[in-house]
Subunit: 174 residues, 2 copies
């Protein structure tokens, strides 16, 4: 399926509410749960999404749209949330994510992107040439990937508790 701006924005708009529905008010046994060492809890995931709103998607789109002499993106810090989330409750983080996402979607709408603009290019520090269209499609798929991860991390906490049903629940061993 090709990237479509309207359809992509439908997903981007829903993500904060979805994470709020899944996570807000849950016991910490769920929200601090992980899939093992070096893997992320739902709490860490929300912090990671916040960092993306601040430093990744819109700033990279701006670099592309400016078409200046240096179109190289700043590498993404995948561990920023371990510093930035300190002292914040999960409720705080969800509020912050929702606010940043709303602002970013407002910026995106304001650009009135055309097919020609979506074809403009930037330089990814590892992949080289990428288009604005690919960047925006990645924003959408990245959201969905982390929603899936959040549900998977939680599901795995019952890997033993389900007893023999584990054989019917492939998510528990993914």
């Amino acid at each position: 399926m090709e990237f479509d701006l309207t359809q992509g924005v439908q997903v981007l708009t829903r993500t904060p509410g979805t994470l709020r529905s899944v996570l807000a008010g849950l016991d910490a046994v769920w929200t601090d749960a992980t899939e093992g060492p070096e893997t992320w809890s739902p709490y860490v995931i929300v912090g990671h999404l916040i960092h993306g709103e601040r430093t990744d998607w819109i700033p990279r789109a701006q670099i592309i749209l400016a078409q200046g002499p240096n179109r190289r993106f700043t590498p993404y810090d995948r561990f920023a949330q371990f510093r930035d989330s300190q002292g914040k409750s999960l409720g705080d983080l969800i509020d912050e994510f929702e606010r940043l996402r709303a602002d970013n979607l407002k910026a995106l709408a304001g650009w009135r992107l055309t097919g020609a603009k979506l074809a403009l290019q930037g330089e990814h520090p590892e992949f080289g040439t990428v288009t604005l269209r690919q960047l925006l499609a990645t924003w959408v798929a990245h959201d969905l990937g982390h929603i899936a991860q959040t549900a998977r991390v939680m599901a795995k906490q019952y890997r033993e508790a389900v007893g023999p049903w584990r054989a019917y629940l492939p998510i528990l061993d993914r």
Copy 2:
């Protein structure tokens, strides 16, 4: 992590709202999307969850709690939704799921389950002896598995659209 009724109910309570947040009002390109032949769309998944509310979790719990001479469960029909969802919009299905889930959680609360009741057993047609505790843990993990599946099915629609970022998004090839 051991099954805990209060923590499990926290998840079960949230699932209809989560699916509503992810899916309500989305274009059909998302809600009818699949991972390929013989795999399920978000629309099919919601129908499957409805069938579980009607025929699986609570009816099986009732069989266990009754402790009658025949404690064998009726096998689950994994394809019922292809018949039962016919003619219904996704919005209808989400409403129906939400209503059934609320009723079922009311029934569950009314049983005032103790540790002793959670240890009671039934007979799964394939696995043999299972406990009420395992059944309820499975209900929770099953919800989370299908939330993860819903997000994964949608993400995969952008497998090509993301270009080289596919290498960073393992969800697209899971």
